[in-house]
Symmetry: C2
Subunit: 379 residues, 2 copies
């Protein structure tokens, strides 16, 4: 048979400034590029395996997991195929179909899908709506209490640490503590935080933390992280009665090639960038301030922002699209001609973006470009 041409090339990241928040935390540093090269082949990390991925000594997956648990301040940790798979593992292990869980109103769609796949009912904690869309811990606690009253037992409470729509950072410590008080296991979805900002799972009294290597930990996708309090290890990491070395929920082994090799190689880089998180937030705030100098561009979500992912209302860009010959495509095309990408083609009413890891000059170049585009076309 003759195969189609799949057009498998990508230079977007090399040749442009990419504002897509999905892409910013998964760019590989040099060390991970080297690991990618060495561990590109299929089962590359399995040369010296004696039956347990998490116990492989060369490369030292066991040493890595030890460091990772220290980094997250969590008792036990495993790698999975992604944050969504980590969430499903928790739900599938500790809940039964028909059980009720509580989830914050800014949850990622994969939290809903993991719950649907596990056959669970979702009670949603509303956010504060426009313009902040804040998930307030008092509202969460109240919703959780009401749900316990109504359903008798709530099997899991899920909080999105930083959501993917507004970049709102939630109060994990308060969440962990009231969940613990109410005897409801807590899961913190750290897909947009783990690898960007400090995580203190035990300090926050969280039962389960999940993260994403490709989203925020400078790893090649797909790979996720699942950390847990030790009391859950017996349930989540239960071994097969037939194959006694193998953990059932992991189906024996999970990520076993370039994703784990790059995640490992990137950890020292990630540890160091997390230490600089405050500077990153300052740069993000200053980026927002400069963009807001344009009349008709306003940041949504909590202000000032506590994250690099920010969402803007952009009525001025929408106005321009109405009179521009290229209609809604003008923004994408104007940015592209300046080697700025990552905002969807045709989108002008609002956008979300991230400048994570970019230099101050690069960020200034982006805000200047927006100013230039608006000045060029606004009436």
């Amino acid at each position: 048979m003759e195969c189609n041409d799949y057009n498998i090339t990508r230079d977007l990241e090399r040749k442009n400034l990419n504002l897509n928040p999905l892409q910013r935390g998964g760019v590989l540093p040099r060390e991970a590029r080297e690991a990618l090269h060495d561990f590109g082949d299929g089962y590359s990390v399995c040369d010296y395996c004696s039956g347990r991925l998490d116990e492989i000594a060369k490369p030292s997956i066991s040493g890595f997991l030890e460091d990772l648990s220290k980094f997250l301040k969590v008792d036990d940790v495993r790698t999975t195929h992604g944050a969504r798979e980590s969430k499903f593992i928790v739900m599938h292990s500790i809940c039964e179909p028909g059980d009720v869980i509580v989830v914050d109103g800014n949850a990622h769609y994969t939290t809903h899908l993991a719950a649907e796949r596990a056959g669970l009912e979702i009670i949603e904690v509303p956010n504060s709506r426009y313009p902040e869309f804040r998930v307030d811990m008092d509202v969460y606690e109240e919703t959780l209490k009401n749900s316990i009253d109504e359903y008798g037992e709530i099997k899991l409470a899920v909080l999105t640490h930083v959501d993917g729509d507004y970049g709102n950072l939630t109060d994990a410590k308060s969440f962990g503590n009231f969940c613990n008080k109410l005897n409801v296991p807590s899961l913190l979805n750290c897909a947009y935080s783990m690898g960007r900002l400090p995580i203190d799972a035990n300090g926050w009294n969280i039962d389960f933390v999940v993260g994403s290597g490709h989203k925020s930990m400078a790893a090649s996708g797909p790979i996720g992280v699942l950390g847990m309090k030790h009391e859950w290890a017996e349930t989540l990491l239960k071994r097969s009665p037939r194959h006694t070395k193998k953990e059932i929920e992991m189906l024996g082994c999970t990520s076993r090639g370039a994703p784990i090799a790059t995640l490992m190689a990137s950890l020292p880089h990630v540890v160091s960038r997390v230490n600089n998180w405050n500077e990153e937030v300052e740069l993000s705030r200053s980026f927002v301030a400069k963009l807001e100098e344009i009349e008709g561009i306003t940041q949504l979500g909590i202000r000032p922002t506590n994250h690099d992912l920010v969402r803007f209302d952009t009525p001025i860009l929408h106005e321009i699209s109405k009179i521009h010959p290229r209609k809604g495509f003008f923004l994408y095309e104007e940015l592209k001609s300046r080697n700025i990408v990552g905002i969807k083609r045709g989108q002008t009413e609002w956008f979300k973006c991230s400048t994570y890891g970019m230099s101050k000059d690069q960020r200034d170049y982006i805000t200047d470009s927006f100013k230039e585009i608006v000045e060029k076309f606004a009436k």
Copy 2:
């Protein structure tokens, strides 16, 4: 914090002939090495996504899946995180906890784990035991009929197309046909066949075929394939009522970085090598014949072999280990000094190996090395 040294380097495959069957089918060809470079970053295939991984047009994942379904002669196909994850998806979608399934006696441990994770009971079809360990289709059909009589309904029958212990190739067509006649959905585990030898899912009347990109399709791990008859698509690919583009069992998207990019880039190479499968089998048989010239080395499993994965009983090597100063380590060390790896350190009573994709000269070098080692030490 200070990270451990994880020793993340690998030159085993570059500098040695690797006999580990796990590794032979997952070595990347040049095209896939290029894709690995371009798509190394986290969410690299998601630049132009509008909500469905399988519909992305750049790179053309949609075009690739179309080709893949033609290649496997199957109606619908998705990529997953691995063959094991594909098996779990099928079991989780079409079975309920407590249901009974039938599995062949040479099944991979991940078939058992997937069933355990889905809460299923396993009835095992015995193999023919030493020395062939053959899974006979008459025995399978009889076991399946008896199981239907005993349990009323059998929700799934699983057959390992080529097993990982003996490299025995089973009769998929006969299996598909009697399962269909008995009204039991059939799953063929092609982890050691898809990407090595031709698959004809519809011709064999198989409901589900699963494969492994990193094991047999020249892809970076982890990535799996799940093909199905169209009548199952509605169940397995059911969409979320809340997020109507997203498939629940896939948790929205599955493999989304280097693994899928390398699998795509490798497909033309894989299609072409599958066309040469008969030559590969001839080379494997001739490798076996040469190794069997050594007294005390005998191939187990079906003879002559129909696969590159072969298992040998090696009493002569075990005898040597009893008198050699390095005991059981002598074989590993002697081979290593000749740049031959992939047989476990300390193992001498038996081994399994594969020379898949090696040149005739390389294979001859390996058999000559074994002869040399035995001559050097045997009494």
